[in-house]
């Protein structure tokens, strides 16, 4: 992927991007594996506290304090404990883990090993989404190199500590980004989420206590160990420690992945870092954290990009995928495209998500094609609101939340499509017309 940069960037996770760190010698020369060696000299609780105090919050989207998550793993366990790297990056608008795997695979391995030292695990799995096959090859090579150098396997760094890391490829399911579904998939079963409790920290992979973290989260850990909790924490805002890879896409002059401090202003991110909207078009909306986060209108974007502030703004920071939509975008079509994705990716396990996404897509197709009635708009809201919070896993919420926001914030655009009126944003005749059904 083409690398971009901006002066406001604070490069922590991305500091080795473009520096050939896929090569182990190069990685070692760039402070690689120093964090593991430091962690080997630390107490497990010390590692956990360092991560906890750094304010690092899960970069997958939920934003849970990473150190706190680690501390839930029982000290004593009859079953082996596992570290899982969730590299099933599939959220539309998100492409940050991809860069990490591409440019800095050893950082992920290092993060996995440190997490293992923190919770007393000896086995790590790096699960990479099926579509990232070429990255899987890179990761497998990195693991092989690390083994060859004695950095993985028996007695790592001569410490007497054994740690194994395995790669595992996905089979093409967004749903498997959900942590318990990922464990099912890794165990060779259908990628269906598990009933919780028990939570993975207690009963996870193969029934053992498991830490599962996003790839970016784990890649941040070595930097925290080397730089210290205070340094990392101060990069961001209180309670939102550090930096984050933001994936800027859509109608921007300079789209790309930028590492910015947590709390960086969204408006600034769009107009300065991303270079603003091309062709002097006006901004219509921004999806701030991947396709499942509720859309923000142009008036709502003057907000700091951290978990808590976006929650306050009625959306979510999510996976850091910022999708910018200019005034030429048809929100109905955008809602339809989003729903098409969720209908396709719904695992089908529970009724509201399986059936709800299907009916939402069907209704949006007709509405966009001019066949809608006023009650269809209410039905879209009704369906979404009845999915929200009632599905087996967050995929249903991920489909419902943005849909509710599209309808509520852009209701007029939906109404403009009703009763056989053609979509104002499409070239005449480009959308197959559907009749209005009474």
């Amino acid at each position: 992927m083409h690398l971009v940069s901006h002066p406001d960037e604070v490069k922590v996770v991305s500091k080795r991007f473009g520096k050939g760190a896929t090569d182990l010698d190069r990685y070692l020369a760039l402070d690689g594996y120093k964090a593991v060696q430091k962690a080997l000299g630390m107490q497990p609780d010390g590692i956990i506290n360092e991560v906890k105090n750094s304010g690092l919050r899960g970069r997958g989207g939920a934003g849970f304090n990473t150190g706190l998550k680690w501390s839930f793993v029982p000290k004593q366990s009859a079953k082996p404990k596992y570290i899982l790297c969730n590299g099933d990056e599939s959220e539309p608008g998100t492409c940050k883990d991809r860069l990490i795997f591409e440019h800095d695979p050893h950082a992920v391995i290092e993060g996995v090993v440190i997490a293992g030292l923190a919770v007393g695990s000896h086995t790590g799995y790096i699960y990479i989404r099926g579509e990232y096959r070429y990255l899987s090859n890179l990761m497998q090579k990195a693991i092989k190199d690390a083994y060859a150098r004695g950095l993985l396997g028996k007695n790592i760094f001569g410490s007497g500590y054994d740690f194994d890391v395995y790669w595992h490829g996905g089979a093409g399911a967004y749903e498997v980004g959900e942590e318990s579904a990922l464990m099912e998939s890794l165990e060779g079963k259908r990628g269906i989420p598990r009933i919780r409790p028990p939570f993975p920290a207690v009963v996870g992979l193969w029934g053992g206590p498991t830490v599962i973290n996003n790839a970016e989260t784990l890649a941040s850990v070595p930097h925290i160990i080397l730089g210290g909790a205070e340094w990392y924490s101060n990069l961001g805002t209180p309670k939102n420690g550090g930096t984050r890879l933001f994936c800027l896409s859509g109608h921007l002059n300079r789209p790309g992945v930028y590492e910015l401090p947590m709390g960086y202003n969204l408006k600034k991110m769009i107009y300065e870092v991303g270079g603003g909207i091309p062709n002097r078009k006006k901004l219509k909306a921004v999806v701030p954290g991947g396709s499942s986060t509720p859309v923000l209108t142009a008036d709502e974007i003057d907000a700091p990009m951290d978990f808590d502030s976006l929650m306050k703004a009625g959306s979510m920071l999510g996976s850091g995928g910022v999708v910018v939509l200019d005034e030429t975008t048809c929100i109905v079509k955008f809602a339809l495209r989003t729903m098409k994705f969720y209908r396709h990716e719904s695992c089908g396990w529970c009724i509201p998500c399986r059936e709800g996404t299907d009916w939402l897509e069907k209704t949006l197709i007709r509405l966009h094609a001019g066949g809608g009635l006023k009650k269809d708009i209410d039905n879209i809201l009704y369906l979404s609101e009845n999915m929200l919070g009632r599905t087996f896993c967050p995929l249903g919420d991920a489909a419902a939340m943005p849909t509710i926001a599209f309808v509520k914030k852009f209701r007029k655009e939906f109404e403009d499509h009703l009763e056989a009126r053609p979509c104002a944003f499409e070239a005449a005749g480009s959308v197959e017309r559907l009749p209005v059904m009474a």
């Binding site: 399986r354 709800g356 299907d358 009916w359 369906l383 009845n386 599905t391 087996f392």
Partner: protein
């Protein structure tokens, strides 16, 4: 476990810790609807119907996955919960075809019920429904895909409960479908549990589909007539030209010893009953050919001939063969008829286990026979020989699910790697035919270990020690263990605290046939002929020397000394290999449904009713007695009970001495009509009085004989009220300590598999239609009875 207190809708509920909220609600009569939740199957949380409000939780919670905790406050009926349920039903109906008017499940569909209770009356959707074509998975299982609501009950019951794992989910999202194991069809045990457990009409039965509506049938809960396990099956019965037709078998009310379970035979193999090859009129041999006659002519002829032979040649010239599939009342009556009317002890049946030896070994341990329910609850089980999955499907279900749900320890000793080994803590392979030695070894005969194959002496001693350490062990064995080996095994078990036993016999009433004395040397209750005093007092004069067994009867026929041969519901020619030509000069009477090999050599064939067409009781292989209910009246056939009585009458015998019937008033008359000769009161009437029972009004009422069985057969004195209510009850039949000597050669196990059932199985279209029947396990002797 400690109790936990919660509040549901303002009601205080106390339930053991670990209880699921949905079950706690049920315990106080609060219904929380669900599709995917099913007791004893793994939790899914998939249908979201059971969402309820739990205080302190921001979102609604699934009651089926929420474990109650102290102080929990749950609300199951506020607006939010009601709306959630309503929307789930709306979503389910969105792609559901709503072809209820023609759907098999119409009227007994959980989706209909939920829609009625919780759903919405209008549809919000306008698009076409998603359609998927219907599939036929096997002759007995059809899958109408659009009707499926994906509750995964079928997948789980097939995998978790049946250990077959033939069903799975294909695709994802809205195009998810349940799929069979062989891409487009099923190869499995064909039990039909998936159909039974389906809450809608997605999985339908090949035998029943589109035949009728549930409310147009009578539902008769009776006992399956196939193997010896005694599953309760509810027959769906419709009126037809011949009286009635059975169109369905299921166990939806889960009331019997089998709970949810039925196998292919219980669910579909009632269809022999309307096979066109059934004999529907009495046949008498004329000029070498069997020709139709009337009932009157047939009974008159039989009565005359049997009386002639008895009076001229003595009762010993007549042999009687009873059945493993007739009721206890019929078997008892036949035993009594042979000895009292025909004056012969030459009565036998196809013996499928050494029940007399078992009864003898159980002397002094009347409660050591395990019930079928015990098998589901015992902490440890030992199975020596047999393949319960094939031969005793319910027993296998009980064992399997006991292991799964209660973590019972299962020990299997077998000459083949039977399927139950998958649940076993320990599987020990022995050479074929050494089950008896294994029993002997366990009983303390260390030298028997030599025969047990490659396992070292230490291994065997270790296994024996381990078994000795198991409390409440249930020991299960079949006909491979006989005579003294049974004594050895019981002796071994007696050293284990609380051990119980199951002796496996093969047909629906094998145990009853044995208990009712279909033996040349035993009377009912395994009382030896030599010790007949009780029965002599009650029954009147009868021969005192043991009679002939079934192979001796054939020899006697060949030698010309057996002049009469009366076969009731059995096929000794086809099943036991008797030479039909031996009976060339013997007057042979056969009561059967079909022209079996035995019936074909008969002089008179009487068309008989099967177990679904008559009333009575069956005793299953564990000794559980249950009520057999008549599904409906059928023309052209008579019950074996009625035919025996009519033949007795035709010989000139006073029927009242055979069947204690007749209204002789109340306690004021203590039955002087019967007791007059001896001056004693009529013991039968006294017993009826004492048990609050009325005298029966007809000589054809089997209940009259049940009264006598309960009065005279030790161990059968169970509660009549429970029996009539349809409950299983355990009999505690024990011998008199003298039953150990049996001719082991006479024991002929059925060797049926899941898809065969003796003679009956030959006439079951369902059993013969499934692919598994065409590729059976290693060919075993085709059995018949």
């Amino acid at each position: 476990m400690a109790d936990v207190n919660i509040t549901v809708d303002g009601k205080k509920v106390t339930a053991p810790a670990g209880t699921l909220l949905i079950e706690a609600c049920k315990s106080v009569g609060i219904e929380v609807p669900s599709f995917c939740y099913y007791p004893n199957l793994s939790l899914q949380g998939a249908c979201r119907m059971c969402l309820v409000k739990v205080e302190k939780m921001p979102k609604l919670q699934t009651a089926c996955t929420t474990v109650i905790s102290e102080g929990m406050i749950a609300i199951t009926n506020n607006d939010e919960v009601r709306q959630a349920r309503k929307s789930m039903v709306e979503l389910l109906l969105g792609n559901h075809p709503l072809d209820c008017p023609v759907c098999d499940a119409g009227g007994e569909c959980e989706l209909q019920d939920m829609t009625f209770s919780y759903g919405a009356a209008e549809s919000k959707f306008m698009e076409a429904k998603n359609h998927k074509d219907e599939q036929q998975w096997s002759p007995v299982v059809y899958f109408d895909r659009p009707r499926c609501i994906l509750c995964y009950r079928c997948v789980r019951v097939c995998g978790e409960a049946m250990d077959v794992w033939a069903l799975g989910v294909q695709n994802r999202g809205v195009v998810s479908v349940i799929a069979p194991n062989k891409e487009d069809h099923l190869e499995c045990e064909e039990c039909g549990m998936c159909i039974d457990i389906c809450p809608v009409g997605a999985l339908t039965s090949g035998a029943y589909r589109y035949k009728t509506r549930p409310w147009e049938m009578n539902h008769v809960g009776t006992i399956c007539t196939h193997c010896g396990d005694g599953c309760k099956t509810t027959l769906g019965v419709r009126r037809s030209d011949s009286g009635m037709q059975i169109v369905r078998g299921d166990n939806r009310d889960k009331s019997g010893i089998n709970g949810d379970f039925l196998c292919i035979k219980g669910r579909y193999a009632f269809d022999f009953a309307d096979d066109p090859q059934r004999v529907t009129t009495p046949l008498i041999r004329r000029d070498g050919q069997l020709a139709p006659s009337t009932w009157e002519e047939a009974f008159e002829l039989i009565g005359k001939r049997f009386a002639e032979i008895r009076d001229k040649e003595g009762g010993r010239a007549i042999g009687v063969v009873g059945s493993n599939r007739t009721t206890n009342e019929e078997n008892y009556l036949l035993s009594k008829f042979a000895r009292v009317v025909l004056k012969t002890n030459s009565i036998d049946h196809r013996r499928t286990a050494d029940f007399p030896a078992f009864a003898a070994a159980m002397v002094g341990k009347p409660h050591a026979a395990a019930t079928m329910r015990d098998v589901f609850n015992a902490p440890a089980i030992l199975v020596i020989g047999n393949n319960p999955t094939e031969q005793h499907p319910l027993l296998a279900w009980q064992i399997r699910n006991n292991v799964r749900l209660h973590r019972a320890r299962l020990y299997v000793i077998n000459s083949r790697p039977i399927k139950l080994r998958r649940q076993a803590t320990s599987f020990t392979e022995i050479p074929q035919g050494t089950e008896g030695q294994a029993a002997a070894f366990l009983g303390g005969d260390d030298s028997a270990a030599e025969a047990l194959g490659s396992g070292s002496r230490e291994m065997w001693v270790g296994l024996r020690d381990k078994l000795r350490g198991e409390g409440k062990l249930i020991i299960i064995f079949d006909s491979a263990i006989r005579g003294k080996d049974i004594s050895a095994l019981v002796k071994f078990g007696s050293a284990v605290s609380g051990a119980k036993f199951v002796c496996l016999g093969d047909y629906s009433n094998s145990r009853g046939a044995a208990d009712m004395g279909l033996y040349p040397d035993f009377l009912p209750g395994y009382r030896p002929i030599a010790d007949a005093s009780t029965f002599k007092d009650e029954w009147g004069d009868m021969p005192t020397a043991p009679g002939l067994n079934v192979s001796q009867m054939a020899e006697a026929a060949a030698a010309g000394t057996l002049k009469g041969f009366y076969v009731v519901g059995s096929n000794p020619v086809g099943g036991l290999g008797l030479d039909p030509f031996a009976f060339s000069n013997t007057f042979v009477v056969v009561q059967d449904m079909f022209l079996t090999e035995t019936a074909q050599m008969a002089d008179v064939v009487l068309p008989s009713a099967n177990a679904y067409e008559k009333a009575g009781t069956f005793t299953n292989t564990c000794g559980d007695i249950q009520l057999v209910k008549k599904a409906g009246e059928v023309s052209d056939v008579k019950s074996d009970f009625e035919m025996i009585v009519r033949i007795a009458d035709a010989t000139g015998f006073e029927v009242r001495k055979l069947v204690p019937f007749g209204g002789r008033g109340t306690s004021a008359d203590m039955g002087q009509s019967r007791g007059a000769q001896s001056g004693e009161a009529d013991r039968h009437v006294v017993w009826l009085e004492a048990h609050g029972l009325e005298p029966k009004m007809s000589p054809f009422d089997p209940m009259a004989i049940l009264d006598e069985i309960q009065r005279l057969v030790p161990g059968y004195d169970v509660s009549r009220m429970n029996l009539l209510a349809g409950n299983d009850q355990h009999t505690t039949t024990v011998g008199t300590g003298q039953g150990g000597v049996q001719d082991a050669k006479l024991i002929a196990p059925a060797n049926d598999n899941l898809f065969t059932s003796g003679t009956l199985g030959r006439y079951s279209r369902a059993l013969n239609s499934v692919i598994e029947n065409r590729n059976p396990e290693p060919a075993e002797e085709v059995a018949a009875d």
